[in-house]
C-alpha cells in the first residue's frame, strides 16, 4: 500500500515538474514548485514508513518549513517586480 501511495506521489511530482517547465507565467511555475515541495514532504513521510526508518520524519518536517519560506520569498520578490512593471506599462 505504501508503494501505491509513493507511486502516485512520484507521478504527481513528475506532472508538476512538467507544468513548471511549460508554465506560461511565472506564477504557474511557483505553483508547480509549491506542489512539488509539499509532495516532497509527503513522500518523505511515506518513505519513512516504507523502509521503517523513522528518522526520515525529521527531514519531512524540515522540508515542509523550507518549502513554505521559499515560496513566500519568491512571491515577495516577484510581486513587487511585476506590479512595478505592469504599472509602468499601463500608465
Amino acid at each position: 500500500m505504501y508503494y501505491g501511495v509513493a507511486f502516485a506521489i512520484f507521478v504527481t511530482m513528475g506532472l508538476a515538474m512538467v507544468r513548471a517547465l511549460l508554465g506560461p507565467t511565472v506564477y504557474d511555475r511557483v505553483l508547480a514548485v509549491n506542489t512539488f515541495g509539499t509532495k516532497t514532504a509527503l513522500l518523505l513521510a511515506v518513505i519513512a514508513f516504507l523502509y521503517g526508518r523513522q528518522d526520515f520524519l525529521d527531514l519531512a518536517l524540515a522540508y515542509a518549513l523550507i518549502n513554505f519560506i521559499g515560496v513566500l520569498a519568491v512571491l515577495a520578490f516577484f510581486q513587487n517586480r511585476r506590479t512595478d512593471k505592469s504599472n509602468t506599462h499601463e500608465e
Binding site: 502516485a8 506521489i9 506564477y27 505553483l31 512571491l75 506590479t83
Partner: protein, 111 residues
Amino acid sequence: MAGVIDGLSWLLLLIGGGFVLIGGIGTLRLPNFYTRMHAASLTDSMATLLILSGIMLQAGWSLATIKLFAILVFLLLTGPTASYALANAALLSGMKPEETGRTVGDKASAS
C-alpha cells in the same frame, strides 16, 4: 481491532493517493492559472490530511505519531497561506480570472 485500524489506514492512504493523482493531473491539464491553482491547492490540503492520517494510524502511539502530527499541522497551516499569497500576487500583478474578469478586475483596480 488491529484489522479494522489496518483497513481504515489503507483506505485513507488509497483515497489520499487518488487525491494526489487528481491534483497532479489538474495542475497539468486545466486551462488557465486560477483553475490550475484551485486544483493544486484543494487536493494538496485533502491529500495531506488523508495520507498523514493513514500513516498515523499505522504508527500507533509513539514518537513518530507526534512528528507526523507536527508535519500535518505545519502543512495544513502553510499550504493555504502559500496559496493565498500566490493568488494575491497573481491578482495584484494584473492577471484577471477569465469568467468573472469584469467584477474582479474592478476590485483589483480600485484597491
